[in-house]
């Protein structure tokens, strides 16, 4: 459930001509059993898919940093009959961001290209995504390796799993709206142990940390009255993992919501839309886009209340020049009853303008 739903909805709208061979897409149905490692790899028959890593890092000097590395795969409406190697059947999009309170604003970069010529691809069978020299791969033993080099910073990480996969929704079938078709396949891999180096402010810095991987693929789109969504996940200090999201209507109301909490023993508790709520505590106005984001938020899951506070306010990612999306994606601290219980990431979309579906 990421910003690319926007792009995705454009694609759906686009029915320009009677294609000789329009791409046939698979829909998301309940009851499908996810199979690994195949489902780590790409699902080109689905409209959209992502590998989404967010996490907290600690430098060798002990300073906290937040990072986000995302790879999207997007199937377009391009005619299947077009034999050209340049035919834009699949697009690969990547976003990378680094949050450093010392810099005070989000450092980020984004790329979008068509898959092809082995320069950019999302392979099936296991996670193996590449966009020029940016890549995200999963080894047979479950380790992930990623490297992102931008003009401002370089991220070079190995992610080591410490916990089993966390299938969201109903065994990976995750509803996104009141209608059954509005759904995706969705699993997460929390508590990934990060080790590697970053090159930041012209220094190579060894880092360690904890990350969260979100994997989601779907062919359907959001409810027509959806305006945006709020999403958060946390690797809690006790080994628990929490994920919560809500989809907002154009009037700001809650269209759909969902949350899961898995305790260290593997015991999972899911929360229905009426059990989950997001309430702003403090807002921040972006000087870049004039959007107002609830950067500090209270999330209620059942009887528990989580207070979310950002690592820094300006974690807005403005990619209007390339992929047209503006959203807030930032490192946050989770508190329960005023006490820090874990660290995670929060995403706030649809605050610049209502997303036209």
């Amino acid at each position: 459930m990421r910003y690319l739903w926007v792009l995705f909805s454009w694609l759906i709208l686009l029915q320009p001509l009677l294609l000789a061979a329009p791409p046939v897409l698979t829909s998301v149905i309940p009851g499908k059993v996810l199979k690994f490692p195949d489902d780590h790899g790409a699902h080109p028959d689905f409209r959209i898919e992502w590998w989404y890593v967010t996490g907290w890092l600690t430098t060798s000097a002990g300073d906290p940093l937040g990072f986000q590395i995302t790879f999207f795969r997007l199937a377009t409406q391009a005619d299947e009959d077009n034999p050209s190697n340049f035919a834009p059947h699949q697009l690969i999009i990547a976003h990378a961001a680094l949050s450093d309170p010392k810099v005070g604003k989000l450092l980020h970069d984004q790329r979008i290209v068509r898959a092809g010529f082995d320069l950019a691809y999302a392979k099936t069978g296991n996670a193996d995504v590449k966009l020029d020299d940016w890549f995200f791969t999963r080894a047979a033993d479950g380790h992930y390796h990623t490297r992102i080099e931008t003009e401002n910073f370089t991220l070079n990480f190995t992610l080591t799993p410490t916990q089993p996969l966390m299938l969201q929704g109903d065994n990976g079938f995750s509803r996104k709206g009141p209608q059954a078709a509005q759904a995706s396949y969705y699993y997460s891999e929390p508590h990934l142990q990060v080790s590697g180096t970053i090159n930041h402010l012209e220094k190579n810095i060894p880092v360690t940390g904890t990350a969260w991987l979100d994997r989601e693929w779907s062919s359907e789109y959001l409810a027509t009255d959806a305006a945006g969504w709020d999403w958060a996940s946390a690797n809690l200090d006790d080994g628990s993992a929490l994920m919560a999201f809500q989809i907002r209507g154009k009037d700001g109301s809650k269209v759909w919501a969902y949350a899961t909490l898995r305790d260290p023993s593997g015991q999972t508790r899911s929360f229905t839309p009426d059990q989950v709520s997001f309430t702003p505590i403090r807002t921040w106005r972006s000087s870049h886009t004039q959007a107002v984001y609830p950067v500090a938020t209270r999330i209620r899951t059942g009887e528990t209340e989580w207070q979310i506070t950002p690592l820094m306010d300006d974690q807005e990612l403005d990619s209007r020049s390339s992929t047209r999306a503006v959203y807030w994606e930032g490192a946050v601290t989770f508190r329960r009853d005023g006490e820090s219980v874990g660290k995670g990431y929060m995403e706030l979309t649809g605050y610049v303008q209502p997303l036209t579906m």
Partner: protein, 849 residues
């Protein structure tokens, strides 16, 4: 009295009394400056526009990779994208599509469609990105969408949401106009679409035209280019934007230089008129100037005064020339296009820029030439001894100073020697110098020639029988040939140039006509909407053509542009069935070709146009590499042929060789011979009934020839105009010299009146004199013009356009021109002499100081 006031007085007096003389001088300078400035303005606008347009297609690219052939295998793209030192590689497929809707109204209606990958192009050529509408943001990737530059929209008369139909060979493709471009170069007609869609819809799967490279920061461009050049081998070319500039300059250079030379000739004529005017003026005012000297004016002051007189005329002429030049350039650009109808820069609409540096240059040139023209007479007048100069009859000492027999001989001889020298930087510099030297030499030699001829005439005159007026005229001309020669100079210069141009153009036109007959032996020709269509006709379509009834023979021709040198315009490669043992049957060879048994078996024969020999050194028997094939193949030049169609060079080879080497079995043109029992019309109908006939142009040979000749005439439109201007300037010269001359002879006429000649008789005598003089000028001009035309035909043309031609004299036209000039000159003399004969007899004789 202050000297300033005196200067003004003198100037005013002189100009006032000789308005026509001044006006003609000003006009001549004006024409010369205007012509040169016009050509400069038009060409610099065209070249600037061409470079800017080419540059905008490359954006901020550091290096462009292209092949010698129009397209190459896309496998190079990932190789370069991953290459060390390259930050970004943007692949492009350039399609030259035809616009069938425009085929009726224009020749070769080409729309350039760029297939690009928006994601790769965004950072290198952001200006070329299509602007999608808010509702259809993915149009940039759609396979039916095309984005048009404003000029293209205007040309096609479409707006966003409309459809356009373009052709690729026999295929018609309808595209939706999805929007405009981010920032198209003004006037540039281009279209942009997705590269995958372009490859598919235009049958160019797997092909790219070029790859734009952005190097990583810190990479040494020159070193990198060298490394990459070695790595890619000779089949690929690496170019930077300055190469495109050189290409644009080379494209129009020969044409431009030729026109500039014509401008210089006009200036030269102007200078000559100034010179003759000044000579006459100093003769006329000899006693007046001497008086000024006696009254205390220094030599220096007098020299300055005289130079100022003509200098101011030069300033006026140059300034009005600049204005006229700008006006002419605007008109010519609007009506004839940036190449003055020669067809080098299609799809461009250059705008004129006022260039101060160029304006100053042409101003200084115009004024300088004027000053130079008046320097000699002014110097002589200032240095004449005042005492003898005050006396009557001293005029002719001026003319004596102008006698320079050695100069004439030197000029003529050097001119002849120069005519034999090779070109400099591909330009016939010595050929033009020879022309100028011959002109100068002839003018300097004119008094002698004139004297000699009329003395001969005088000797043969029977004083008893001859008409007294005729006798007077001939005697006068034979004895005062120096003065007559000055009037003659204008006619000589303009008429000889006219003759030279007429002979050259006729020779060229007849040669082209003969050549067309040779290269168009078939009855019918067909090709898609545009020439050198990338797709052309497929093998199936060729099969259908070949199996048409009533077709006795059909030749298929593949024509593609290839780049052998990135700084030169493309060379045309023509592949067609050629009989190795008798290539002359389809190729207009100019000398005997290499016999087929002396072609080594490991080489492939090619027959090249004359331009290939001059530009690339492809001499008969030479083995060359043409990297059109992979692996590369050795070719041998088996013959040289004449080509008036492609001045940048063309190569012919056997179609079978071409297909074997390139695997390209499409064709661009077909030539059909109709069987004797069938009619051409029946075959045309059969062709039009073919399913793919719609975007095909089917032309009967007669029409092809007519179209070609029309194009020829169009490209010589400017030359015709210049001829008229030259004649105008020449006639004005005659008028000016005659009226000036008759004034200097006022005393002579007075005496003639006293001894009994009537006004009308003097009048007739002068007219007769004018006629005789013009006749002599026409004859000399004809001889000189023929000589110059020989230089133009056999030296200048082969050296600048790289083609040879045969000499053809347009007798009828030449006689007509001669009579016209003779008539006009006589009429001019008639009008000018009216004034001379009308003066007061008594006063005229007394007019002695």
């Amino acid at each position: 009295m202050t000297s300033g006031l005196l200067t003004r007085w003198l100037l005013k007096g002189e100009w006032h009394s000789h308005r026509l003389q001044s006006v003609v001088a000003v006009l001549a300078i004006m024409f010369g400056v205007a012509l040169g400035f016009t050509i400069h303005l038009i060409n610099s606008a065209a070249v600037t526009e061409f470079s800017a347009a080419t540059r905008s297609l490359s954006g901020t690219s550091d290096l462009t990779v292209r092949a010698l052939r129009p397209t190459f295998d896309e496998a190079l793209y990932p190789r370069l994208a991953r290459h060390e030192g390259i930050a970004q590689a943007s692949p492009l497929l350039e399609i030259t599509a035809g616009v069938p809707a425009k085929a009726k109204t224009m020749h070769n209606p080409v729309l350039k469609i760029l297939g690009l990958d928006i994601f790769r192009a965004a950072s290198i050529t952001p200006d070329l990105l299509g602007i999608s509408t808010e509702d259809n943001p993915m149009d940039a990737l759609a396979d039916d969408a095309v984005f048009l530059s404003p000029a293209a929209m205007q040309w096609l008369a479409v707006k966003q949401g409309d459809s356009i139909t373009v052709s690729a060979g026999t295929k018609q493709i309808t595209l939706r106009v999805a929007g405009g471009l981010a920032r198209a170069h003004p006037g540039q007609r281009i279209a942009v679409m997705d590269i995958g869609a372009a490859q598919w819809r235009f049958d160019q799967i797997g092909q790219l035209s070029r790859i734009e490279l952005k190097l990583q920061p810190g990479v040494n461009h020159r070193a990198f280019r060298k490394v990459l050049e070695e790595e890619l081998g000779r089949a690929y070319l690496l170019t930077e934007s300055q190469d495109d500039d050189a290409r644009a300059h080379n494209m129009s250079r020969a044409y431009r230089v030729n026109l500039n030379i014509l401008a210089l000739v006009a200036l030269f004529t102007g200078a000559f008129l100034i010179f003759s005017g000044q000579v006459l003026s100093t003769i006329r005012r000899r006693s007046q100037l001497a008086l000024l000297r006696v009254l205390g004016m220094t030599r220096r002051q007098l020299l300055c005064q005289l130079l100022l007189e003509s200098g101011l005329l030069g300033v006026a002429g140059s300034l009005s020339g600049l204005a006229l030049g700008y006006l002419l350039a605007t008109i010519a650009l609007h009506h004839l296009g940036a190449d003055l109808g020669a067809g080098f820069f299609p799809g461009l609409e250059p705008s004129l820029h006022l260039e101060p540096a160029a304006a100053v240059f042409y101003f200084v040139l115009g004024t300088g030439v004027t000053m130079l023209g008046s320097l000699l007479p002014a110097w002589e007048a200032a240095h004449a001894h005042p005492a003898p100069a005050l006396k009557s009859g001293s005029e002719y000492t001026v003319l004596a100073a102008l006698h320079a027999p050695r100069l004439a001989v030197i000029c003529l001889l050097t001119g002849i020697v120069f005519a034999g020298l090779p070109p400099v930087y591909d330009l016939p510099v010595f050929g033009y110098l020879a022309t100028v030297l011959l002109l100068i030499g002839s003018i300097v030699a004119l008094p002698y020639l004139c004297g000699l001829s009329f003395s001969a005439l005088l000797r043969r005159l029977n004083p008893g029988k001859a008409n007294v007026l005729y006798a007077l005229a001939v005697t006068r001309l034979s004895n005062a040939s120096g003065l007559a020669a000055i009037a003659l100079g204008g006619i000589l210069v303009s008429f000889s140039l006219m003759v030279a141009m007429a002979i050259m153009v006729t020779s060229f036109r007849v040669s082209v006509d003969n050549w067309l007959a040779q290269v168009l032996p078939a009855d019918l020709y067909l090709h898609p909407t545009i020439h050198q269509d990338m797709r052309g006709l497929t093998t199936d379509e060729q099969q259908m053509l070949a199996s048409l009834p009533d077709v006795a023979r059909i030749d298929f021709i593949r024509s593609i542009p290839i780049t052998l040198d990135p700084t030169r315009p493309d060379v045309t490669l023509l592949a067609r069935p050629v009989d190795r043992d008798n290539p002359g049957s389809v190729i207009p060879l100019i000398e005997s070709a290499l016999p087929s048994d002396s072609i080594p078996s490991d080489t492939v024969p090619i027959w090249v146009s004359e331009a290939m020999v001059d530009l690339y050194g492809f001499e008969v028997g030479k083995q060359v590499m043409l990297p059109i094939a992979d692996p590369s193949q050795l070719f041998i030049v088996a013959g040289v042929w004449r080509d008036y169609g492609r001045m940048f060079g063309a190569i012919q080879m056997q179609l079978s060789d071409y297909r074997r080497l390139t695997g390209d079995d499409h064709i661009s043109d077909a030539a059909l011979w109709v069987t004797t029992e069938a009619t051409t019309g029946a075959v045309i109908s059969a062709l039009q009934a073919l399913p793919f006939s719609n975007p095909l142009e089917i032309m009967e040979t007669g029409r092809v020839r007519a179209v070609a000749l029309r194009q020829f005439d169009r490209s010589f439109a400017v030359t015709y105009l210049l001829e008229l201007v030259a004649i105008g300037v020449g006639l004005m010269g005659v008028a000016a010299s005659f009226s000036a001359q008759t004034l200097t002879r006022i005393r002579e006429f007075g005496i003639l009146r006293h001894i009994g000649l009537g006004k009308r008789q003097i009048h007739r005598m002068l007219t007769l004199e004018g006629g005789l003089l013009a006749g002599f000028g026409v004859i000399t001009g004809f001889i000189l013009g023929t000589g110059i035309s020989l230089i133009l035909i056999f030296i200048v043309n082969p050296q600048s356009f790289h083609w040879t031609m045969q000499l053809h004299l347009p007798w009828g036209w030449l006689i007509l021109m001669a009579l016209a000039v003779l008539g006009a000159a006589t009429l001019t003399a008639f009008i000018a002499s009216r004034r001379a004969a009308s003066g007061n007899v008594i006063r005229a004789v007394r007019e002695d100081w």
